[in-house]
Structure formats: structure tokens, C-alpha cells
Symmetry: C2
Subunit: 417 residues, 2 copies
């Protein structure tokens, strides 16, 4: 099955919003082995929409449309469907009752404009929208499918996940089956990771492996095809295990995991508490840890110790140590992590100190120089890192490196170096 | 001038990356009064590329292409240009010297593959790429322009801003001129802002005004057209002033300003220091303030006080007050802001305490309930807010509300309520 994703809306053309719908739908269709041939964005304009329906339906089995289904005068996708398929609008009782319920739940009365939302082209099967008021439309014409969804991302996603993807999966006649899995690594460069995997052809044995680098780490996408669902799942499990043998220590999670989520789970399971003293990251590490629901189980306090004075006063860093080594040093990082651990009563103390830029570099302390320390009652591990010259990116990368040091500390993964 | 933005790359179709290039280019062309008719994304595939060149050049004056200019085998945009325009590749000495310099600066030697980057289709004017190795291509054929740029966003942006946009502006024969300005508001709902502006037709007097809401505030886009550059600039200044009369207190900045950047400037100008005690935002407010270069001038310390115990121990919140009102209360917020101000020695203390969700709500303290307090030596202003049920969004909105209270405190803007 070949597909085109058609997004409708003036705001997509003038750079007012990022088109996130295309990436979301592209990923979901690819997972179903539907090949996304192309995507396009066009204005809320009748002539453009009709022309694009014709063009994209001619060379695709499926056209997935988002946008232009709302209640206002510039939403004309439904009108164009009526015209293109030479059909008419009829009121759908189930959709009307959904729209009614939506307004009732919010204590608002239904206006005529809202009631019009329940009008559906006769040729289309309406798709219920339980997150908003505009229903989706599914039209089957010969062997071609055209599916229209609202452009509001969370409405579109809800309808994709709950209605569209399961129904599309039923329609697919799989000759081959496919499984996709993501393994998430951090703290290792793409080329090093590649080398670590050894003979890649032998490892893959017909499967596919993509390296997807970002400032936070490298995601690995494994793709396996085969003649049954059972076979592809067995094959992908086997491939994952083989990769873990070579590079398991760098893999912190799979699929949509986050590093902070993985750490939160470990801390809660073991009943441990952590406290972070941040200099250069200025609060970002604490922010990431508290993004996880339930973070009050493992975090009581965090300190942003930006000035030398605060490092001394609040974290018991020795004045002489700052004088001797400078506040961006391994020694100060060690004392900061020990200091926050002791004053907080947490099991683990973490600290970061570094030069984020664009100013603050010296001949011996370049931009991007960072020291991170993780300690508990028994041991203190401190490391030096060298990042780049972009302040925000440096903060992100420092937070990622610190959290990864914490993960490895919790799992007893120690550096070879 | 009508334009199409054509983005090339498999990664755009399978949802691997967000297509940010389209939004960037769309915004820049719109500012030049070039109308973006449509955009599309297609795979790195010769047949698709040639078909799309033909289709988009037929109905546009300008086709702006990104992607597929790199040195590897799957980058075939240049090859397609050669084929489409029936031309040939010739080595460009200036580009070769750029590529050479790029490798020299990084201490790497030029490989044959890299040298091939200096081959340019004879019909094209090469566009220098000082951020990478793949040059851009500008082809003028009759009255049509086709411009190819690398897909790497920061290379593309650099070339757009420094070479493409100035040259495009020269080519435009303006009959009318246009000015666009963004005014950034926060802390006011879209509909309230609309009402605040009074008689909108009278206010605009032919100009255009778009309301662009987000969880952080409403951006206003002002568009003015006229017969000379001078006239449109005078008109847009005048319109801005009129809007400021009605809603100036909510406008924290213009264009690409950030709320934290505006605050940093005010603090540095006045030599003031701020200290933030965060409960529910867990570090986000300190993170945002330290995103600004030079933040060490106005920030020495921040405290994430997540547990009651830490609020008592570190911020001198009274135990009885927590017992009587609960830790999510106006009284605790006040004491926290006073506490952090006193222990830090800063001029201004800020605190936030609230229920971010998804758990933690009680019958009297619903999800999204937040108290924020800002105090200095003389006065303490605390306010209650009610946000939603999404944890991450609640953290973002709380941080925005707290920073806006700080901005208004600094400017002496007081609430009517």
C-alpha cells in the first residue's frame, strides 16, 4: 500500500507552525508497512485542495489528509470532499450526540455552527472525535482510501491510534511481516558504537539497522521482515540480544523511554534518594528528574549553586580548593556532590560544574569544559567532558551526561577508562 | 512571485525527523512578500525528484529545494539537476578552496569524495556554504528560479540569511511594500486580549492582525502594506503604538525576544539579583533564567524545595503554617519567597508551589492549582493560578506565570484585581 500525507492549512505555508502531523503519521504508517511516497502542504483554498485530491489519489492507494475540518468559514475540507466525490451532506446521529456530549461536559450550549459539525458527506464513514468536535471522514472509492482527520495534533493522534491504525491494519493483506524496534543509547559516539558492533553484515543477517544520532545519544532502529508475525518477533528479539552483547552498557532504554524515566524507575524500586547540585546546568537536571510523575519519592531537594560563594556556603566546598583549582575543576565537582549528599541526607549526590559559553572561557579552561561527579556513602566518581560552544546545547548535553553517569552508578556499570 | 518549497529525504517520510526547514523557509519568504503556494517532501529517488521538478516549476516562479546535496551515494539532487537541465558538472575553484579550507581548519585531509563536492552543474551559480561542505545551487531558467540548499538546518539557515534572501530581495519588483512585526504577550487569554483592543476595524485601518496563541502566551502578528518602504514602517510603528495603548502591560517583547531574556536585561541594567525557590517546577525557572548568557550577574543560587521538610529546613517556612494551610497554599508560597530572598541575600525572592499531576490532587486542592509569590524587601505579592492536568505543560505554564510576575514587579505593573 502506497500513501500520501496531505496537510491543509495556510499556517503551514507561512512558517507559523511546525508541521508535526506529517512526522507522526509518517512514523505510524511506516510501522504498518505502508510506504509513504510523498507528503504535501497546501492552503485552505478550494482549487488547491481539489487539484491535490486528484493528483495524489492518482498515484497512491491511500491519501491521509489533516486539517480544514473545523467549524469556521476557512475550514473547507469537508466541502471539497462533497464536491470531489459528487455527494451530499447528511446529519449523523452518533456524531451529533458526541458533539452534544462534548459541549455538555464543558457546561456550554450547542450553537448552530457547532451542530453543523455533525454533517457528514454521504459517501464517508465518520470517525468519532472524542477529544474535539470535528469528526474524521473515511472514504473508500474502488481500491483507494481517503481519510480526513482534524489538524489539531492531539485530536489527530487520538483518532489515528484508536480508530485509523487498527482499521488500516485489518485492510492490509500482509505477504511479508515487519517488526521495528528502537534501542536508545547515550554516552557513545556513532562511529564508536558502529565499531563496537563488530562485523555488521554477520550481525544483521538480512535485518536492517539505522543509526539516528542526536545531541542526546544515538537511537538504533532495527527492522526485520519475514513471513509471519511470530518469525519477525523472534528474529528481532534475537537481534536485540546480539546487539546488547556488544553494546548493552550504552543502551538505556527502548522505544519511547526517557533517560530520566528509566532512572526514576530504578530509584523508586530501590527506595533510593538523589540530590543534585547544579552549577552550569542551572536547574535543568532537577527539572528533568521532576518531569517524572512520582519524583517526590526520590527527590527532596536540589541546589543551583551558581556563584563560588554559594558553593562554599551551601555545599561546604573548601575555599582553598576553589582558589587552587578554580570552580570548574574535578576537585570542586567532587566536593559539591559530597556536599549536597550530606546536607540533603540523600543516598546519592550529583554535581556539575563547567563553562557553557559563549563567555567565560580562559586559556586553560576552554568553552564546553565540564566536570561531573556522582557519589554515595562509599565511592565518588568524577569525570571530565568536553562539549561545544553552544550554551543551550551544552546545558542539554551536560544534563544528559550527568543522568547517564547516575544510571551507570545505579547499575554498577563502570568505565573501562 | 509564487513559490514552492521542495524537501528531499527519506527521513522526512518515515517520521524520523521533524521537517523544520519548511517552516523556516516559509516564514522568510513570506516576509519578502513571496507567496508560498505549497510544499512537498519526497524520497531520495531520481524518478520522484525529476517528476517533482517538472510539476512544481510548471506552476511556480521559484522552487526552493533542500536536501540531497551531501557527498554520499544517496544524495542525488545535483545529479537530477544535471539531468533535468541537460547540463554537465564542472569543478568550481572557489568552492574547491572553501571545501579545502573547511577540512584544513579541522585538521583533516581532503578525500576524493569530499573533492567531488566542488563539482557544480554548468548552468548553476554555486552558493558558498561556510558551515559545511555542500555548496548550494542557484539556477535561473527564463523567468523561473530554482535554488537548491543542503538539508542540514544550520547550514541551510546560514545560506538563506546571508546569500539567498538578499539576492531574492534584489530580484523582486515591489509594487507594494510590506512590513511584518510580532508583539509577544503573556498572562492574558486570546479572547480577553481581543476585547481589550476595542474596535478592531478602526484600530487596524486596513492593516492585518493575527492572534497566535500557545501555552506560553499569545503572539500578535501585525502586517501592513503600502506604496513605499517608509510608509509601511511608519504605519506599523503607529499600529504598534495604538496596540500598546490598549494592551501594553501584557506585551513583554517583540520578534524573537524571550521572557527570560527580557527579564535578564532588566535585572542587569538595574544591578539586581534574584533567587527562586521552586517546588512544583522542580528547577525549570532557574533553568530558564540561566539559559541567558551573563546570568551569573543576577543569579547566585536557586533551591528546589520539593519536600515539606526542605521547605522548613532550608527556607524557614513555619511548620505550623504548612500544617494549617498545606504546602500548596498562598501562605507557604509567601514564606518560601521570603525565605529564599533572605538566605540568598538577593534583592528579589520568587517561589512556586502547586499540584502538577497526574497524582496529588485532593478534594480541596485540584490538579493544576498553583501559588506563586514574588517579594522584595518592602512588598510581597502572591497569586493563585489554575492550570490543567498535563504535568509537563503545567510546569511550563507555571514557570511562564512566575517569570511574568517578576517582569511586572520589575516594571511596577500591578494587577487591577
Amino acid at each position: 500500500m502506497k500513501a500520501h500525507i496531505l496537510t491543509i492549512g495556510d499556517e503551514l505555508l507561512i512558517g507559523q507552525v511546525l508541521n508535526t502531523n506529517v512526522a507522526y503519521i509518517g512514523e505510524k504508517l511506516t510501522r504498518l508497512q505502508i510506504k509513504v511516497n510523498s507528503t504535501s502542504a497546501i492552503p485552505d483554498d478550494e482549487e488547491s485542495i481539489l487539484r491535490e485530491f486528484k493528483r495524489t489519489l492518482a498515484s497512491n492507494d491511500l491519501v491521509l489528509v489533516t486539517g480544514g475540518l473545523g467549524p469556521t468559514h476557512d475550514d473547507i475540507t469537508r466541502k471539497c470532499i462533497v464536491e470531489y466525490f459528487e455527494t451530499e451532506l447528511v446529519e449523523d446521529p452518533e456524531i451529533l450526540s458526541d458533539v452534544n456530549a462534548f459541549f455538555e461536559a464543558r457546561g456550554r450550549t450547542l450553537t448552530l455552527t457547532n451542530r453543523l459539525q455533525a454533517l457528514v458527506p454521504r459517501i464517508a464513514t465518520p470517525i468519532r472525535n472524542l477529544k474535539g468536535t470535528a469528526p474524521g471522514l473515511w472514504i473508500e472509492k474502488g481500491k483507494k482510501q481517503i481519510i480526513c482527520l482534524p489538524g489539531v495534533p492531539f485530536e489527530m493522534k487520538y483518532m489515528m491510534d484508536n480508530f485509523i491504525l487498527p482499521k488500516l491494519e485489518e485492510k492490509l493483506e500482509h505477504k511479508t511481516f515487519m517488526a521495528i524496534r528502537y534501542l536508545l543509547t547515550t554516552g557513545i559516539a556513532e562511529s564508536t558504537l558502529f565499531d563496537q558492533l563488530g562485523n555488521i553484515e554477520e550481525l544483521l543477517n538480512g535485518a536492517k539497522l539505522a543509526f539516528l544520532p542526536s545531541p542526546y545519544g544515538v537511537r538504533l532502529r532495527l527492522t526485520v521482515e519475514g513471513t509471519s508475525e511470530k518469525i519477525v518477533h523472534e528474529k528481532i528479539d534475537e537481534l536485540e540480544q546480539k546487539i546488547r552483547v556488544h553494546a548493552g552498557r550504552y543502551i538505556f532504554g527502548t522505544e519511547d523511554d526517557t533517560l530520566e524515566g528509566v532512572i526514576a524507575k530504578l530509584l523508586i524500586e530501590r527506595g533510593l534518594k538523589v540530590a543534585v547540585a547544579e552549577s552550569c546546568t542551572g536547574g535543568l537536571i532537577n527539572h528533568r528528574l521532576t518531569n517524572i510523575s512520582g519524583s517526590s519519592h526520590f527527590l527532596d531537594i536540589g541546589i543551583v549553586a551558581y556563584s563560588d560563594n554559594i558553593k562554599i556556603k551551601m555545599l561546604n566546598v573548601k575555599k582553598e580548593v576553589i582558589r587552587k583549582y578554580g570552580s570548574v575543576s574535578l576537585e570542586v565537582a567532587r566536593q559539591m556532590s559530597d556536599g549536597i549528599r550530606i546536607i540533603s541526607g540523600a543516598n546519592i549526590g550529583i554535581s556539575v560544574t563547567g563553562i557553557m559559553g559563549p563567555t567565560g572561557a580562559t586559556p586553560t579552561k576552554p568553552l564546553g569544559l565540564v566536570y561531573i561527579s556522582v557519589c554515595d556513602e562509599w565511592v565518588c566518581r568524577a569525570k571530565v567532558f568536553r562539549f561545544g560552544d553552544d550554551r543551550l546545547l551544552n546545558k542539554e548535553r551536560t544534563s544528559q551526561a550527568a543522568l547517564e553517569m547516575l544510571r551507570r552508578h545505579l547499575l554498577g556499570i563502570y568505565d573501562d577508562d
